[in-house]
Amino acid sequence: MISFINRHISANKTIGMLLLVAALCLNVSCKKSLDVDSTRLAKEDGHWTSLQDTRSGLMATYGLMRAALADNNAHWLWGEFRQGDFAATNRSDLKAIVNGDLNASFPLLQDITSWRAFYAVINNASLLIERAPEVLAVDKRYTEVNYKVDVAQARALRAFAYFYMVRIWGDVPLITSSHDDGSFQAKARTDQAKVLVYAESELVAAAKDLPYVYGAEGNDLLPGLYYGYDADRWRGALFTKISAYAVLAHIAAWQSHYIDAAVYTDFIMKNYAKANIAYSTITELTSSDGIFNGASNNQIICFGFNDLYGESTTNGHIEQLVLAAPLITKQTPDLYVPKDTIASAFTDPNDQRFGLDTISGLSRTNYFVNYSGETPVFSKIKVLRGGSTNGNFAVYSSNIIFTRLEELALLRAESLAVLGQRQDAISLLNVIRKSRGVATFSDGPDKDLIKEIFDERRRELMGEAWRWYDQVRYNKIKGNNTAFNDLINRKGIYWPIATDVLNANNQLTQNSYWK
């Protein structure tokens, strides 16, 4: 039997003592060791000391704006699907939105009726405006020009966020500084006219400092690289002078200030070439790697999901709701344009966007595929990852394009038509119609130019989240749709406010229409 007993074990006393001392020495207690800087965040002190801080802060403002529009695909739920051309197949929550039944009790509706995400843009922009001077003071690399352009962008984005909110909720609290001290005072809603006056004045001021192009050599406002990147990198990503004027024009039009709208759009039409902006061809508009994919100067206001930088996502794209087989494996789209709606909107058989070829009897597939099936699939925007066409992997890179030159041309046409300058309006309208293969419009005594312009908008901008706002403006101009004008008068064109928002601020009340 094995025995492990060994009764002759001991040790040298000195070794023992040494060990004991060694053990105690390891027990280093040091106050400094408790200062552990988290690698997961940036602390307040030390921030706003270098141009990395202003750059990341500015990018966050854009990123937060993108989040506000993309979360739950809200950009389209607000602008495109509410009482628009699309019908829902199955989803009850989408049906509620399509029917304008906006206080239906679905989680989606609670989510998209919260305005918090816009205020994150506003707060972040205000913070940048307030803190960027600190960087200017300490970082030599941060130039005065760079600083001015940063602040101008922040102001423009903040104004844009206010405009976007006013379109959805009407009166919103106007908060113009960051109050960055952890005190969250409840503020009441401000009259929307005041909010828009503020937005307009901010944009006018910002437009002075905004360049036409970022990162271009020889640019008078902002020469050379911008934050180390050239013009190619910044194409379509940032607010330019044209972007600011585009928002100004829309603010004016939304308030029916068509004279102002005409002035602002006039500036755009005269200067867009300086920003290298051009009209988009039907191919650029509808191919999977056209203007909805990647960077382009034609994207006048655009929030990108560039796949080059790993920003492709599933959520935040109209495709998630409207795309289906044969382009991706999903069987039926959540939302689709019914055939009779298509037929009534696209009246010209030569329309490149959608038309029936009179000889072959086949439909053009630029806007819709599966037209012969039960539910046509809206395929104008179909940017699978990085502009690919592989439908196995339904991750999208399509940009949220708020506006492009066609949209602004039609807005100018609308303004001019309202102001009675029919010929100028018609020629702008025909620019668009020609490029889409539609017969040009010629004036006549019983021709409804306004209607023609809005019909063209409906076709051209389908799926770009304009339809709802266009209907509001159209009915404001026309005033002959009783139901809709009742909606306008009773402020039913605005959305209800989410319970979370109301609960957190006792100064707020629900929009009267939705009480």
Partner: protein, 994 residues
């Protein structure tokens, strides 16, 4: 990484230094090398079990009973007869005041423990992590997972990585005792780690003597569940009444494709998936312990291999453990003891679609669900054979301690470390996900080093007065880190790894060439420095008082309030010696009172910084979007919540009043404990006006009070040396919690689906009260003031909508009409165990119960809400294979209009609230002691003990809950039907001591 290696090598060198002692020669002394157990460390009254041979289990048990009552240590002898894998399973139902609920029977998954009630409301899984008690293994404070991985997760069903329960790595055969420490003063000695309570595991120890070999083994199986399967016909019939009553023409047009075609045998054919899903699966285990050595140096080795399995979906856990201990006594005044444990766990996980899509963050089209036919399910399983899903957790921990005993002065110095590493490699072939494949790799580790030093000084003044002074200091450093990469859409299903460009000249060197890759990396560090001093005064054997004060500093506290001073007091009065000295009835009767305040450091490192900037430009569905236009974007934490200054240490105040008694020569032991536990100054992420962009702001000041009574009663009812003896023990715990304060003096708050109201419990459901159905529009009440019909948040109610109670009578059903109802946590928990002994036979059975909790049956709600569930095409729309079964206990709910925009089958109503109380016959075990059997004696072998036994587990559940098992309810009281059955297991085992 280098840092970590340095530390480990330091520890190894440190231990290697000790080797000379093992070979040096010297004299024999009669002093015994002591086990490093809880008492050597913290029990200042060193006359306690410390110097006893802790291995002699029986004597220890009785002593523990005398000292502290039966209430807080686990009967390991009985526990070892069950194939319990995790610490939580061992403790479940056996310790008053400790509540364990297994939310799934899948082996090796994460489980939680709650001691003495919830200390804060459970909004998310993170809140459960923050309430876990500290677990000490021979004094090593084991590090647990951090919840920070959830920051990058879109869905939080499982954490990324192996998600293996780290406390499943300790083999029961190597455990000598498990004590659950709830006494406030004892916890205060352990410090902030133990603010939520502590569990002290003492392994079997090295001891001197002739070498001993113990071999234990069992084998058995888990039994497949029997279910009634269904096919599409059943679903079709289920939907019929809804369609007949409410459907429009277009609803009929949208009738789901898979239900439309009754000739489709996949859906309408035989539903035999269950033969492939539920299976009897073998389980087995073998372990070996070897102990030996001299009085001056002895050792213990332990090794084990265990296979545990679930009864469904091929789930299993394979575990290998090894443990080595050496104790040395180089001088009569110096004890050195050391231990190293290592274990490895490989987990075979379930194949739920939900868990897979949550991992891939990609939801394919769910229009056609998985059919119930065995052939198609087999085809799916064949595709699974091509996948990789390796989950490995490796744990190494150990300690080295030096004890100096100079009679009156005792010094103890202890270095301990715990390192665990989880890796998970996943590959899903393209056939499993719409033609695109998926790879992910995870490597994460948690690491803790701790150094403790303490000194004790005993002073006796005459015979009657005794003082013990103690002081100590400790330093602990924790690191949590992970690297995670997931990749999509590789070139084919043969390349199962993420290939990178290998050409060093290429501009894309080391960049992925085929897959679309996303990478995540995160690291969190925390340090804790503590000092404490205590004094104990004992008067004769009648009274003793202890006072302790400690000062702790945490790196996670804000710099201005880094240190937290907290006191603790305790007194004990021996009533037996005072009043009943000569009583033969009472062996012991003592009263003790104890109070302490313990700081709770923040578990997240964000609070130390105060106002801060983070990368938070994503949104709920896309939390990880990295930047804008490829440029990093940093902002205020708008979505996770504002962090300001003045966030001070959270702390817990605990009061304990206990009465323990032992009667009739130890035949009856009883204890009663009353406690109040106040968790104060807790952080709450409270909603703020949304007009500053923040969802919420962290505010300090939430307080929750738990009060309860714990009763323990154990008695030997029959006692005879040869005949029948019967011992029985019951433990009962009554607990209730109450919110005592909210931050900023608020009285109530609604956060998400929960409402917190001061004075009310924190685990209540916030729900509408359902009172039936409106059969006609005319039944809906009309507001006489404006002749508007009763509406739900503005949408008028119609025929087919539920009758929800308009509590405030304003003719609008909204959040103001929700009420707080039912508790998710049980009011009474406990267990009852019985031991019969006759001759060489033993029989024991164990019943556990939990009473008074309710659950919301989400599984039923989503079955009825099929319109919204199916059309959503989101993570909740998934129909798993196991959903093709009939629930015989299902409740018939009213037939509401499922298309209604008021969502009639919403979960937040009392329609789905059910009683989830249960009692379970958890263990029945029969054993026979062979030691005295003839053939063993004849063998004249060295067998000291031979014992064979048969155990059956989880035999019977008594409950009125209509889901499969009331334990399989999620942490927040929601039953979603995903928990895998806790299987019946049957084992035959043998224990041999050689």
């Amino acid at each position: 990484m280098r840092m970590k290696m340095n530390r480990i090598s330091t520890a190894v060198i440190y231990m290697a230094l000790l080797l000379p002692f093992g070979v040096a020669r010297g004299y024999a002394v009669t002093y015994k090398a002591a086990a490093f157990n809880y008492h050597t460390c913290f029990w200042q009254d060193t006359t306690d079990t410390a110097k006893k041979k802790a291995d002699t289990l029986i004597s220890v048990k009785i002593r523990r009973a005398l000292v502290k009552g039966l209430k807080d240590s686990l009967n390991m002898e009985i526990s070892k007869l069950s194939p319990n894998l995790s610490l939580q399973q061992m403790l479940k139902g056996n310790i008053p005041g400790l509540y364990v609920q297994e939310t799934t029977g899948e082996p090796g998954t994460e489980q939680s423990m709650i001691i003495r009630g919830l200390s804060s409301p459970l909004f998310s899984k993170n809140d459960i992590y923050n309430q876990q008690p500290a677990v000490y293994l021979n004094g090593i404070p084991l590090i647990q997972e951090s919840s920070f991985v959830y920051d990058i997760q879109k869905y939080n069903f499982n954490r990324i990585g192996p998600a293996t329960n780290l406390l499943a790595g300790i083999d029961a055969s190597n455990i000598n005792s498990i004590e659950v420490i709830k006494d406030p003063l004892e916890l205060a000695k352990l410090g902030p780690n133990a603010a939520n309570g502590a569990i002290w595991i003492t392994t079997k120890v090295a001891k001197s003597g002739v070498r001993q070999l113990n071999v234990n083994s069992y084998f058995g199986f888990v039994q497949a569940s029997r279910v009634n399967t269904t096919n599409a016909e059943y679903e079709n019939l289920f939907r019929k009444p809804f369609y007949q009553k409410y459907a429009t023409e277009s609803d009929y047009l949208n009738y789901p494709g898979y239900l439309r075609d009754s000739t489709n045998t996949d859906y309408y054919g035989p539903a035999r998936w269950n033969d492939l899903y539920y299976q009897n699966t073998p389980i087995h285990s073998i372990d070996l312990g070897l102990t030996g050595g001299s009085d001056r140096a002895n050792f213990r080795f332990f090794g084990s291999a265990t296979t545990n399995a679930g009864n469904a979906d091929n789930t299993a856990l394979n575990r290998y453990t090894a443990s080595f201990q050496i104790n040395m006594l180089p001088f009569s005044w110096l004890t050195i003891s050391s231990m190293v444990n290592a274990n490895r766990m490989d987990r075979d996980r379930n194949r739920n679609l939900r868990d897979r899509f949550a991992e891939t963050r990609y939801i394919p089209d769910l229009y056609n669900p998985l059919p119930p036919s065995a052939t198609t399910y087999q085809a799916l399983l064949n595709e699974y054979d091509k996948n990789i899903d390796n989950n490995r957790t490796t744990v190494v921990n150990g300690y080295l301690s030096l004890g100096v005993d100079l009679k009156k002065v005792k010094i103890l110095s202890n270095l301990s470390f715990d390192y665990n590493q989880g890796t998970r490699d996943v590959f899903y072939p393209s056939t499993l996900m719409e033609g695109n494949n998926y790879v992910s790799n995870y490597l994460g580790y948690n690491q803790r080093f701790k150094i403790d030093n303490s000194i004790n000084y005993t002073k006796e003044l005459g015979k009657d007065h005794k003082f013990v002074f103690a002081a100590g200091q400790s330093y602990q450093t924790d690191v949590h880190k992970y690297n995670y990469a997931n990749a999509y859409n590789g070139p084919n299903d043969f390349i199962k790894i993420n290939v990178v460009q290998g050409n060093t000249d290429s501009a894309n060197y080391l960049k992925p060439v085929a897959y679309l890759v996303y990478r995540y990396i995160d690291k969190e560090q925390a340090r804790l420095f503590s000092v404490y001093g205590s004094a104990r005064y004992a008067y004769k054997d009648l009274l003793s008082f202890t006072a302790l004060v400690r000062d702790d500093a945490s790196s996670n506290a804000q710099p201005g309030s880094r240190w937290f001073i907290s006191p603790a007091f305790s007194g004990q009065w021996n009533l037996k010696n005072q009043f009943l000295k000569n009583s033969n009835l009472f062996d012991d009767l003592s009263f003790n009172a104890s109070w302490s305040r313990i700081g709770k450091p923040f578990t997240d490192d964000r609070f130390a910084a105060g106002p801060q900037y983070r990368v938070e430009i994503g949104w709920d569905a896309e939390p990880t979007i990295p930047g804008y236009n490829g440029v990093a974007a940093v902002s205020r934490p708008y979505t996770s919540g504002w962090v300001g200054y003045n966030l001070k240490w959270t702390y817990t105040d605990q009061l304990n009043l206990g009465l323990n008694t032992s009667l009739l020569q130890g035949r009856l032991n009883a204890s009663a404990t009353f406690y109040i536990k106040d968790d104060k100054r807790m952080l709450l992420n409270i909603p703020v006006p949304q007009e500053y962009g923040y969802t919420s702001s962290y505010a300090s000041g939430m307080a929750v009070r738990n009060t309860g009574v714990e009763l323990g009663l154990a008695g030997t009812i029959l006692k005879s040396s040869a005949g029948l003896s019967w011992t029985s023990g019951i433990n009962l715990n009554f607990n209730r919690n109450k919110l005592t304060a909210l931050p900023n003096g608020l009285d109530q708050l609604v956060i998400g689906d929960m409402k917190l109201k001061v004075g009310q419990p924190i685990d209540q459901f916030f729900i509408y009260q359902n009172q039936g159905i409106y059969n006609a529009d005319s039944e809906v009440p009309v507001n006489p003031a404006n002749s508007k019909r009763l509406s739900f948040e503005g949408t008028p109610l119609k025929a087919g909508d539920p009758k929800w109670k308009d509590v405030n009578g304003d003719y609008v059903i909204d959040e103001n009409d929700k009420v707080l109802k039912g508790n998710a946590m049980p009011k009474l928990t406990g267990g009852w165990s019985n031991d019969f002994h006759y001759g060489n036979f033993d029989l024991n059975f164990n019943i556990i119960f939990a009473v008074g909790q309710k659950a919301l049956n989400q599984s039923a709600a989503s079955q009825y809400d099929f319109i919204n569930r199916e059309s959503g095409n989101d993570i909740n729309s998934i129909k798993e294979i196991f959903s093709w079964q009939q629930n015989p206990k299902a409740i018939q709910y009213p037939i509401y209009n499922p298309w209604s925009s008021v969502v009639p089958y919403r979960l937040d109503q009392d329609l789905f609230l059910e009683n989830a109380s249960y009692a379970k016959l958890r263990t029945v075990s029969v054993g026979y002691d062979l030691t005295r059997a003839g053939f063993i004696k004849k063998m004249k072998s060295s067998i000291k003990r031979a014992y064979i036994y048969v155990t059956a587990n989880n035999l019977v559940t008594v409950t009125s809950f209509t889901g499969s098992d009331p334990e399989l309810i999620d942490y927040n009281g929601i039953y979603n039907g995903y928990g895998m059955a806790i299987p019946r297991t049957y084992i035959l085992g043998i224990k041999l001591d050689l």
